[in-house]
Subunit: 314 residues, 2 copies
């Protein structure tokens, strides 16, 4: 193999985004690798997105797709659905891009007399930092987590659980979406949303309401130039990134929908994928780690019509 | 406090970048917060950068400052110094921007007859994935780490240690700088360098040679638009980000140097800073985490002449 090319390929990690025609010419991926797990997956290992729990955020340079988590933040998700139907965010902007932390959008006039009205959406909703653990079918990851007693996945979401307290909650990982709040616990309503773009800020867990996470389009949010004001806020209005619209998938015409499936996290295939990340079997690796963390397990997606060969860990 | 402003300020976390004049008007930061620890720091808690171990990477929109770690990768660092003196990277480019992973630069003609020559620099240097733990004065963090038996800081670098094997190594955190390699362990020489721009890819630890980490300017690297080719490589040469120059600080004229100090990691002040991140005491937080990970402890920097009020956790 060409040496320069080989070195370029040295990190085969999040890496399996290899074009279909190229894959067809290659031998099967090595046993135990992520790519092999995805290649061997069955149609039943994948699921579509729920149109009532999916948001399309339309920006000038592309679409960001968010999956909402009504099982963890029912009041916030209901409010966010109402705000989307009302087209609340259309023409507003990303106001903040804070390096190694979050991007955040909302109404720059929020809290002033010029603030947008909320219509049937609620001005205040209860804090939803954690929920009762009963009824949470956690697919545990096998390794310990420093921040919580137990961690794993629930319907595609990274979740922590404390069996002593009987609570479960969404965790702050890359791509997590939360509802900005004031100092009061119940001061968020979903109008201002943030997305984690850096190292997992797990210290925020149970301090703020997470409402979902980005399924597709993180590369658009994460590359927004950082704001130079305090906390990464843009100092000039023209630096903000305009939001064309935010819509519930249920309200998007079929011809404008993105064809996308996500890997289920309650299957043997998922367990195999976790193991493939705990211990990398690609030839490049010399020492498998024997460990994984929930925030190092992004959810694979695929274009359903393209079959397994288009599946890629994101 | 204005409600919108308050909510904007909701994440006071990496947040203490408050302008000097504003700070002077405010009451002292709350006991136990990061800002208070920095405000109370003494001049001896800070250190300058070693001119022989500091690289300036000059890009069109700013300067990235890297501190090298000769205590962990002496052969690579020696080679990188030689390459910088030779102006090896001047006019080359960032070739890859891989979301939630790395940016990487080098010679796009590497491995071809058009490749730049290395002069007195070595084509091959030994793998430096880990070193003997003897002589490593680890300032341990108090919490367990999933990937390694012990973790902490050594002269500002996040380090892991295995007392059984008697080895210590630099860890992959946001801002870590490493030397790209081929499948062979000893196939890196420092010509191609990558910087971590996402969630800590700790599975790379002990699989590749880390040579240092970014001290300043991460927001420039992390916001580079992602490449759309496999592994985040730019598909067209014009998408690459040109490198004006990479220089050792020792070779930069005094008038062009950035005035910068970094917090020492072998002091009581450092321990207090770690504790302020383990348990956030800012009013916004309702539940201190009681836990921290080495990759959630970026190194504070300050402009020395501006005094403590300019100190900010980065």
């Amino acid at each position: 193999m060409d040496r320069a090319l080989a070195r370029h390929l040295f990190l085969v990690v999040v890496a399996s985004a290899i074009a279909l025609h190229a894959r067809a010419l290659e031998p099967p991926a090595k046993e135990g690798t992520m790519q092999r797990v995805l290649d061997d997956s069955k149609p039943s290992d994948w699921r579509a997105l729920d149109p009532d729990n999916t948001l399309y955020v339309e920006l000038a340079n592309g679409r960001v797709i968010i999956e909402l988590a009504p099982a963890f933040a029912p009041a916030h998700v209901a409010n966010i659905r109402e705000l989307a139907r009302r087209k609340y965010w259309d023409g507003l902007a990303i106001l903040r891009s804070h390096d190694n932390y979050v991007v955040q959008w909302g109404d720059p006039e929020g809290g002033t007399p010029k603030a947008r009205t909320l219509g049937k959406a609620r001005k205040q909703v209860p804090a939803e930092f954690a929920r009762d653990a009963a009824g949470v079918a956690l697919r545990a990851v096998p390794d310990r987590d420093g921040w919580a007693a137990e961690t794993g996945f629930v319907q595609g979401f990274a979740v922590a659980r404390d069996p002593k307290e009987g609570k479960a909650w969404l965790t702050h990982c890359y791509g997590s979406v939360g509802a900005g709040r004031d100092n009061a616990a119940d001061s968020s309503n979903g109008t201002e949303l943030y997305v984690v773009i850096g190292q997992s800020p797990r210290h925020l867990d149970r301090n703020i309401t997470l409402v979902g996470r980005v399924i597709s389009g993180m590369e658009i949010l994460s590359a927004i130039p950082r704001g130079t004001g305090a906390l990464g806020f843009f100092e000039k209005p023209e630096q903000r990134v305009a939001i064309k619209s935010i819509r519930l998938l249920a309200e998007v015409p079929a011809r404008e929908q993105t064809s996308l499936e996500v890997l289920r996290t309650d299957t043997a295939t998922w367990d195999a994928l976790v193991e493939s990340r705990r211990n990398r079997r690609d030839d490049w690796y010399l020492r498998p780690a024997g460990h994984i963390n929930i925030c190092n397990l992004p959810l694979p997606t695929r274009i359903p019509d393209a079959g397994n060969n288009a599946a890629k860990p994101t």
